[in-house]
């Protein structure tokens, strides 16, 4: 073997430049999260469900890795196949330096923004249409398992139809789990490719899905949106949620290295008619108390009326984001604050200074009296959002406790789980992890 070639190849391997810093950090042990104001009243217990050998990923997580041991049964599917086979149970123990993540999850995590949007309370969903629920004892249970029965062929496409025609929702509106028959219109048709069904080509899993009506008696399929061209609807369907006695969904299109929301649609669940929703430019939408708000890139805030038309309700010199009744604001002296719509109160974080650009990278989550502040950046490699900082606010005492993540740790999604647990999906290298926070 030519010595130089192999030696050069090994020398050119891209390892981290931070080996020394990482070793020192791990050797010195974990540190308490930095406190911004006072002491957070509740005790935070962190449990890691899935972990590879990346012990040093987050100093808070690593603090507990030595103390916690949880066995997590996971069901997975045969991957890279045109049909689904019986689930194979794999068990993981969670202590430092233990087994990695199965391939199914990793493949779903890599660039699969749809998975992030489907990470709903109590449920971790997969793109390949297997849905998992996080049980109280941290077992991951399959909520639905697609089988090969019920294939419907239409030319070169095959439609997977769940025999029970089930779909999913959660009680605050996002589609997650639902047991019962799908709604039918007067013609006896159901709407497929919106309700957790995907169109598959034999050589590709996760192809763009096109809404279609399927007559469950005759097996006839017709196009649900014939007025649109393939260019108008190139993307994958994602972000389905219940909204105003119907279903709201979006399409996601890849533009080079990033995914963007393409269009929004609403399905009238009585007629199954699909209504395209025109958005006022590029930006973000939020639904609060069955009203949709939209904030565009310039910071303008819109509210949608009953006819799916947006009206400008507020214009800020600096951007603000609305989520779950919380409006992020910047004070005149550049401090970050949260305005609570319900309580008509503003919480100002004296130690967090922001600029106009910074403010677009904050988001909020709310569960009862718990408010979570997320600082994010756009990660183009992942085609999604990376969470770099999580803060938990106690609105009674106005104290905020911040948790920061290592640069190597890509936190891609944060969501409330059942029983007021906070779940985060994060990724390090090719491994994906699920981390759950419990508040006592």
């Amino acid at each position: 073997m030519k010595n130089n070639t192999y030696r050069d190849a090994v020398d050119h391997l891209r390892f981290s430049d931070d080996l020394y810093q990482n070793v020192v950090k791990r050797a010195r042990g974990s540190q308490r999260p930095r406190r911004i104001v006072g002491v957070f009243v509740a005790t935070v217990l962190i449990t890691v469900l899935l972990a590879g050998t990346a012990v040093g990923v987050n100093y808070v997580v690593s603090e507990l890795l030595d103390k916690q041991e949880v066995t997590v049964p996971v069901h997975t599917l045969g991957t890279q196949k045109d049909t689904f086979e019986d689930a194979q149970v794999m068990h993981f123990s969670v202590t430092s330096g233990l087994p990695g993540v199965n391939t199914h999850y990793m493949e779903l995590a890599m660039g699969d923004v749809a998975t992030q949007y489907l990470f709903v309370r109590g449920l971790l969903c997969s793109w390949a249409s297997t849905y998992y629920r996080i049980a109280d004892d941290y077992r991951l249970e399959i909520v639905e398992f697609k089988t090969t029965s019920g294939w419907v062929d239409k030319g070169d496409d095959r439609y997977t139809v769940d025999p029970a025609y089930r779909y999913y929702e959660r009680d605050d509106g996002v589609i997650s789990a639902y047991h019962g028959p799908l709604p039918k219109n007067e013609a006896g048709e159901i709407l497929i490719n919106v309700y957790c069904l995907v169109r598959k080509k034999p050589d590709n899993i996760g192809d763009p899905a096109w809404p279609a009506y399927l007559n469950v008696e005759t097996g006839q399929i017709r196009d649900a949106m014939p007025q649109l061209s393939p260019e108008d609807f190139e993307g994958r369907i994602c972000y389905t949620r219940r909204f105003r006695d119907g279903i709201l969904f979006t399409t996601l299109v890849n533009e080079g290295a990033k995914s963007v929301h393409n269009r929004y649609y609403w399905v009238d669940e009585t007629t199954l008619q699909i209504v395209p929703i025109e958005l006022p430019g590029k930006g973000f939408e939020f639904v609060y108390q069955d009203t949709m708000y939209y904030q565009d890139e310039t910071g303008k805030l819109y509210q949608m009326d009953d006819h799916f038309t947006f009206h400008l309700i507020s214009e800020y010199e600096t951007p603000a984001m609305l989520g779950a009744g919380l409006l992020l604001v910047m004070t005149t002296d550049g401090k970050l604050g949260i305005y609570d719509v319900d309580r008509d109160m503003t919480y100002v974080f004296n130690d967090i200074e922001v600029t106009k650009n910074d403010l677009m990278n904050y988001g909020t989550l709310r569960r009862g009296d718990k408010i979570v502040l997320l600082k994010t950046v756009t990660n183009w490699e992942l085609m999604g959002t990376q969470i770099t900082q999580v803060g938990v606010l106690d609105p009674q005492s106005n104290e905020l406790r911040l948790i920061e993540f290592d640069n190597d740790l890509l936190v891609t999604h944060c969501s409330w789980l059942a029983d007021d647990r906070l779940g985060m999906i994060y990724q390090r290298g090719q491994r994906q992890y699920l981390c759950i926070y419990e508040f006592e």
Binding site: M1, L13, G429
Partner: protein
């Protein structure tokens, strides 16, 4: 007193990582075939150095100790990990073409060939040293080196080989 030891070890640590960090990661990479796991293992090796390493007579003994710990950690890691249905390959597309082909071929070799080849051609170890490190008879190391070379030659052709 304990703080003083830590500080001294810390100074040693910086030197040791500078000296052997890449070798440790490269050896771990030969076992686990991806950079992130290799880095994790390397961290564990140097933490072990920080916590347990004796005083070494010379640099050779120090490296030998570090590489032995690396081999042990890699084996422990591979014992614990579950086999994946379709493991994600490391993306080596940034390597120049010749290097890419060779590294790719190496990673496809069985571990029993790959490791001796790595230690021989990258670290410059003798067959005797490899035998001691991998706890394997010297004759076995020799035949695996030959066999591994043969397999690579079949895979890559003569261009990658010199007599």
């Amino acid at each position: 007193m304990s703080k003083l030891i830590f500080v001294n070890r810390n100074q040693d640590l910086e030197r040791v990582i500078a000296q052997y960090g890449h070798s440790v990661q490269a050896l771990a990479f030969s076992y686990v075939k991806n950079c992130y796991d290799a880095e994790d293992i390397a961290q564990e090796v140097f933490i072990a150095y920080l916590q347990k390493a004796p005083i070494f007579e010379n640099a050779s003994k120090e490296k030998s100790w570090i590489m032995t710990v690396t081999v042990n950690r890699c084996r422990s890691f591979l014992r614990n990990i579950r086999r994946m249905e379709a493991p994600l390959p490391e993306d080596l597309s940034y390597l120049p073409r010749l290097e890419f082909d060779l590294m790719n071929a190496m990673l496809h070799l069985d571990e029993k060939y790959r490791l001796p080849l790595h230690l021989y051609y990258y670290e410059g170890y003798s067959i005797g040293e490899i035998s001691k490190l991998l706890r394997c008879p010297a004759a076995t190391v020799g035949s695996r080196l030959a066999r591994g070379r043969e397999k690579l030659k079949q895979e890559l052709g003569e261009d990658h080989f010199e007599e």
